[in-house]
Amino acid sequence: MRHLYVNRATLLIGLLLVLAAALFGWLRSQGLVLVLLIDQDRLEALDEVGDDPASAPAPDDAWAWRELGADVFAASCQGCHAELPHLPRFIERGSARDYLVDFMLFGFDGAAVIDGERVAFRHPPFARLGDDELAASLNHSLTAWGNEGALPAGFELYEPETFEERRDLDLTREEVAEERPTE
């Protein structure tokens, strides 16, 4: 009869795991995070710094994308793309700025002319990533591997707001393919 307890334990633990996962899903989809006490201390210490400009956090306009961009690229892009050295040339095309945002958000399914050759390809959408993650990884791709020096003069890097605005377009992958700027 002890074995009946095992059946009950399996049922209870199985349910606990599913319910805990569902609770996690709901809390995270609502943006809830836990802040460790050590983090809390650091935040309070920053508050105490007050107006000292030397130790104050970076202003909003100096968006800290570099570390996040490298992390997101390593986690989500590097599996397929080792490097993207052609991006500075591509960004010079007419509507490339918005197209790259749509390409990352909604994916691609169609044909393109690459190095003079017409090829069909698909790219997965990454709308599941946050606006800051997408903007940071695109900035990383535009500046890494020596790309930064090849960017057009006066080129402005991306801000998360651009992704936030274009996210509502809800394009299909085929529509993004049609939007692709030609040389």
Binding site: I13, L17, A21, S29, A75
Partner: protein, 438 residues
């Protein structure tokens, strides 16, 4: 330390470990929030992985962990909860695709991203592991080969899952979070190393030698081993051990058998073994002096664990073995508590240990009720199988105060449990031993 307190401690630690990944993934810094289904599916993947890792600790036969529950229950739980964990892990990519059907390419083992391909291989390893376990007997897969494949597939799946998580990133982009998750799996793999390498090394220091192989009735053998250069082991009557006979302590070939000797004899251990398979059919030919390693004791099927005013034992076939140990131990202790033994056997000629039981009945307050499938001519006792009608006739009047122990074939255990249930015996008064260790 009280066994209940130890049991509660391990249960609490288990709950903390299996829910830990969800808690640490909630701690800042976290990736940007995504839809419920995406976050839910990731959580299923995390808890599924940790649950699979924990399985290696559960099956490591670590006595402090298995002692409070009995390893037979731990192994049954392992089979069930591991199946649940695999289902949770399989659900992880499926829910991602339900949320965003354009991700269906990630399920393609030859397409998708590197992360998805690695994750897919991990899932295939787990599904193959489960299929081999479920269909092993139907496929007539060699038991030792299955054990090796089981361990390799499990460890490979855990390793591939960590690789997949590293490639996918997001929650584990923070090093301390990834390290915490990895640490759980490393401790789990260490438990497997303990079971397969460290523990055999410890067994090697405490060998036994075969001192007697005695035929009993009903194709049963009393297999006796004697401690070689040490004082033997302490066990509770009703427990069992894994035996490695005539082989290295690191061999994966081992067989579980119940002790049938008195627990007061630490240096001389006897096991009741019935000829049922390749190994047991040749047990009678094992030469005296053969080296044996004893991994035990294991199990929680013992009257020593709970005091009771008396006992009712139900044995079917070779299920008599643990009861022989209980009765011999109680006789050596001059225990005067009343015992009724219902003993089901195919025939009188195949009733193992009946002479020993006759001798024990003079040393104990023991009544033996034999229930024979085929009774000899002139048989005055019970025939057929143990059922409610038989119990109504033969159970003692003080039966509801006693503890009931049942050991035998699964059908017999089910029948006895049903019959006892009809007699309004509470579940807490019944202890059953289902030998499903292989």
């Amino acid at each position: 330390v009280n066994r209940t307190i130890v049991g509660v401690f391990w249960l609490a630690l288990y709950l903390v470990v299996i829910l830990l990944p969800l808690v640490i993934m909630m701690v800042r810094p976290t990736p940007a929030p995504r839809p419920f289904l995406v976050e839910f599916s990731l959580a299923l993947g995390f808890v599924g992985l940790v649950q699979i890792s924990v399985q290696l600790m559960l099956i490591a036969r670590y006595p402090q962990l298995t002692g409070p529950y009995g390893i037979d229950l731990i192994l049954k739980y392992h089979r069930q909860i591991a199946t649940v964990a695999i289902l949770l892990i399989v659900a992880h990519p499926i829910i991602l695709v339900i949320d965003n059907p354009t991700l269906v390419g990630l399920l393609n083992p030859f397409g998708g991203t590197t992360a998805s391909r690695v994750g897919n291989v991990a899932i295939y390893a787990l599904v193959l592991l489960a299929a081999l376990s479920i269909f092993r007997q139907r496929m007539k897969l060699d038991y030792e080969l299955w054990r090796v494949s089981h361990a390799l597939l499990g460890v490979a799946a855990i390793g591939l899952s960590h690789w997949h998580i590293r490639l996918a990133g997001h929650y584990t982009d923070t090093p301390w979070k990834e390290r915490t998750l990895l640490a759980i799996s490393l401790v789990a793999v260490a438990a497997l190393v303990y079971l397969r390498i460290v523990k055999p090394a410890l067994l090697a220091r405490r060998p036994y030698r075969v001192s007697a192989v005695t035929p009993e009735r009903g194709s049963t053998w009393s297999f006796t081993v004697t401690a070689d250069g040490h004082d033997g082991l302490r066990f509770e009557p009703g427990q069992f051990a894994w035996l490695k006979v005539g082989a290295s302590p690191w061999t994966i070939e081992e067989h579980p058998f119940s002790f049938s000797s008195s627990a007061l004899e630490r240096g001389r251990l006897e096991f009741g073994i019935k000829e049922l398979g390749d190994f047991t059919s040749a047990i009678g030919k094992v030469p005296i002096g053969t080296r044996v390693y004893v991994d035990g004791p294991h199990g929680a099927f013992s009257p020593d664990r709970e005091a009771a005013p008396g006992y009712v034992f139900f044995a079917g076939g070779i299920g008599i073995s643990p009861f022989m140990s209980m009765l011999r131990t109680m006789a050596d202790r001059a225990d005067s508590r009343p015992i009724t033994l219902f003993y089901g056997a195919p025939s009188w000629d195949e009733t193992a240990y009946r002479d020993d039981l006759e001798a024990l009945s003079h040393r104990l307050e023991l009544e033996v009720v034999y229930v024979l499938e085929e009774a000899p001519e002139g048989w005055q006792g019970e025939t057929g199988f143990i059922d409610a009608a038989l119990l109504a006739r033969r159970l003692p009047d003080d039966q509801l105060e006693r503890l009931h122990f049942v050991c035998g074939p699964p059908a017999m255990i089910d029948a006895v449990e049903r019959a006892l249930s009809k007699r309004r015996v509470p579940l807490e008064q019944i202890r059953s031993e289902r030998f499903e260790l292989v």
